[in-house]
């Protein structure tokens, strides 16, 4: 059984305060506290903090629920948002351009086009994942999404199916890019986490997968057949690489690459 004289760790004190300590250990902690006034004071302070938090916010659950949070209303409203999206798209287009431009100014000494491209994509990601109602311009369900973006970007685009990662395509939008119009596809997971895929024409040397992280974001990017691709999401290198691999495998079947061998090489380099 547990030795009642063993030292009580700080972790255990937290567990004790939060009521998760097994009964057989609780007594030992209480004995410890009676002979360790510093620890007893800390425990008291933590309890007082919890009390203060509950006193400050506890009453919110008794407030009447505002009309806009009524479930029935939300379900009805979901259908009418499409109309507002069109107006927002215009504003978003302008904002997107400005963000890209600022990103360009911020990158230090003469960044390459490929670097500008990647930073535009990450800026677009950051900007639009925070949008609640208008993260996209055209919804995934609308048939003209892919033909439209394909026409503007100048290649046959396809939005990869990322269902294997529980990511659902929300839709896409068109953005100004460093070397032409860019398409941004947005995906969302069950818990609201968002990934974006950014693509535009880019006349730069082919590259294998590269990973960049910025603050809380990560991005895997590559250039293939005069097009650049950037997949951005939460900063989780392994997950992003896995998503990028899946996307690449699907995209590569559609986008003509100059030589099959080069594409194969890209895959094997990525795998190593």
């Amino acid at each position: 059984m547990v030795d009642h004289n063993t030292t009580v760790t700080e972790d255990e004190l937290h567990v004790y305060v939060d009521g998760e300590l097994p009964a057989d250990r609780r007594e030992a902690v209480e004995t410890w506290l009676s002979s360790h006034p510093d620890d007893a004071a800390r425990v008291a302070a933590w309890r007082a903090q919890a009390e203060a938090i509950r006193a400050r916010y506890g009453a919110v659950i008794h407030e009447p629920i505002p009309n806009r949070l009524a479930l029935g209303k939300i379900m009805r409203n979901r259908r009418s948002w499409g109309t507002v999206a069109a107006a927002a798209a215009v504003a978003a287009f302008v904002i997107g351009g400005v963000a890209g431009w600022i990103a360009r100014g911020a990158s230090a000494a003469a960044p390459t086009t490929a670097e500008l491209f990647t930073s535009d994509a990450i800026e677009a990601h950051k900007l639009y994942i925070g949008e609640v109602r208008h993260p996209i311009e055209v919804k995934a369900e609308e048939d003209h999404l892919l033909p439209w973006l394909s026409r503007r970007v100048g290649t046959t685009l396809r939005a990869p199916d990322l269902g294997a990662f529980d990511l659902k395509l929300l839709g896409g939008r068109l953005l100004p890019g460093v070397s032409g119009p860019a398409a941004l596809f947005m995906y969302e997971g069950a818990s609201g986490e968002r990934f974006t895929i950014y693509c535009s024409r880019l006349n730069a040397a082919r590259t294998a997968f590269r990973y960049d992280a910025q603050e809380n974001f990560g991005a895997v990017h590559w250039i293939e057949g005069s097009y650049g691709w950037v997949i951005s999401g939460p900063k989780d290198k392994d997950k992003l690489k896995a998503v990028a691999s899946a996307a690449y495998d699907q995209l590569e079947k559609r986008i003509p690459s100059p030589s099959q061998g080069a594409a194969g090489q890209l895959i094997s380099r990525r795998g190593s």
Partner: protein, 163 residues
């Protein structure tokens, strides 16, 4: 089907409480709750059973993180913590102190602390919501408590904000 919606409905008051403490602003909090509900309804087909309440907390937590990330790229919009003027005119000064103390915490620490002490989630549940091991939840809790204690004891620490 019916129960899914009912489970969501039942959770709304607690979600509002959590969001209010997270954002310390009633409007922003209800925006977050609204967005959470919209997400939840839209993703119903992705919900593979389990605890609806934990799932809703997870969505709200992620949405709030998205929100903070979005804010953090516009530094001029940042000083959320300075507008303590008209807020609810709480008679108890202690309420405002704890509010300021919470505002100083790093988002992950605030989230962990609120889920445990306000929402009554277990460490295990918080670990799932935050997508981290239990040990990480515990160290977030510990750091949050040290920060708050330091603040309330008067030695105001250097402002630590999300970048």
């Amino acid at each position: 089907m019916g129960t899914f919606h009912q489970d969501i409905e039942v959770a709304i008051p607690a979600l509002r409480r959590y969001a209010r403490a997270l954002t310390r602003d009633a409007e922003t909090a209800d925006d977050l709750v609204q967005d959470t509900l919209v997400r939840a309804l839209r993703s119903e087909h992705l919900f593979h059973g389990g605890d609806v309440r934990s799932w809703l907390y997870t969505i709200l937590t992620n949405l709030n993180r998205n929100r903070l990330r979005s804010l953090s790229r516009r530094p001029t919009v940042m000083p959320i913590e300075d507008n303590d003027a008209p807020d609810a005119a709480g008679p108890e000064a202690g309420g405002r102190d704890i509010e300021r103390a919470l505002a100083l915490l790093v988002d992950e620490q605030r989230t962990a602390l609120l889920l445990v002490v306000l929402e009554g989630l277990t460490y295990r549940e918080v670990a799932d919501v935050q997508g981290v091991p239990i040990g990480t939840v515990m160290s977030r809790l510990a750091r949050a408590r040290v920060q708050i204690k330091t603040y309330l004891d008067g030695e105001r620490p250097a402002l630590r904000r999300i970048k």
